[in-house]
């Protein structure tokens, strides 16, 4: 696998349907109403229900392991949230290798929706084939 510094990861686009927002919120055991009740979300000043942060961490992880494969070991995930990702948006992840240290690689990841950057961060992963 080519994973030198500068390597771009294959893009991942996810349709953020209301079902996606709700099912991921429940699967991460986050029952805040803004993630499943549109009326409540609107009453709290949001445009619609929106993706929760535990799901963002999970999606960033999936984006990296989709590329690095099931033998890769995720060491850390640091994310920062930007604009909200509401239902009916499309979230597109892009990433590139920004650092290598032996088998470890640092991947900068950005998830962009219609409003701009929703999530950005760095994942440290130990790639297969190297010293674990």
């Amino acid at each position: 696998m080519n994973a030198g510094v500068g390597t771009e990861l294959p893009q991942l686009s996810i349709e953020i349907t209301p079902t996606f927002v709700v099912s991921t919120a429940i699967a991460t055991r986050d029952f805040q109403d803004v993630h499943h009740d549109r009326d409540a979300a609107v009453a709290r000043g949001s445009k619609d229900i929106f993706v929760n942060i535990l799901t963002d961490t999970g999606l960033v992880q999936r984006f990296v392991t989709d590329w690095a494969g099931p033998e890769a070991l995720i060491r850390s995930i640091r994310i920062r949230l930007g604009v909200p990702c509401y239902a009916y948006d499309t979230l597109t992840f892009t990433g590139r290798v920004t650092g290598r240290d032996g088998a470890d690689a640092d991947i900068a990841v950005t998830g962009t929706g219609g409003l701009g950057d929703h999530v950005s961060g760095t994942v440290r992963v130990t790639l297969p084939g190297g010293p674990a």
């Binding site: 099912s23 699967a27 535990l54 999936r62 099931p70 033998e71 060491r75 850390s76 701009g116």
Partner: protein, 307 residues
Amino acid sequence: MRGIEEAAKHIAAQGESRARLARDPVNQAMVNNWVEALGDGNPAYTDPEFARGSVHGGLVAPPAMAQVWTMNGLHGTRADDDPLGAMMSVLDEAGYTSVVATDSEQTYHRYLRHGEHVAASTRLEGVVGPKRTALGEGWFVTTRTTWSVAGEPVAEMMFRVLKFRPAGEPAPAPDPAAVLRPVISRDTEFFWAGTRVGELRIQRWGGGTLRHPPGPVAPNGDLAAKPDHVVANGTGTVYSYVVHHHPKVPGKRPPFVVALVELDEGVRMLGELLDAGPEDVYIGLPVEVSFVRVDDELTLPAWKVRS
């Protein structure tokens, strides 16, 4: 404000909360729900045969689920020594009633296996504020959580939320259809992304030289240089200003004041001065940034008189 800071100090001094056990041990059913919802096809989580032959030597849970195991759940309540809960109560009482997560940094010491029962303990790391943000004035609350299995730390997390006071009587939002929308280029995109999240961003070159308005080439002409940005403190003084009367400007009600402000960082920036009439504005007037949300895509920087 002093009260909030003192309460934060007090809560932080109590250190880590008692370890709180997850409702369920790590189990395949919850993992299945999670990978289905997120669309994660990694066989290390679901295919026993593959997992046995892999680097993991058996089925593992997605590391990003660490926090999931110890969530309070639908009818769960916070532990009485939970420092995040305590800090939220203090801020609720001070009128900062809304909350939004901003940062998460998770470190995984190892992957979790089915049957392991994790426990979480949390301490308050810091409370910073009050800060002006696009959402309203608020405080950033940072906690650190450690997950352990039988006393062995398996994962850690720094978690930051913004606890904010929703802008009470905000200036009437300008009609999005009327506002003259900015043309945004690759070189200026970061500025507008910043205003959307309540940050006044100034382009920075070579780690030091600030430039506004931003552009694609370093002021010293170095084509190899790449810019980043600093987030302005948001304070400055009026360098010059206009009181606009005629003709009509879309989205504005005359007379209104537009001020060229010299920011503390040394660059000048234009914006409407929202809360000063023609008689109150003068060159040298101290101001601070304010963010006028037009719609999801556009937030304009503006100024308010610094008190």
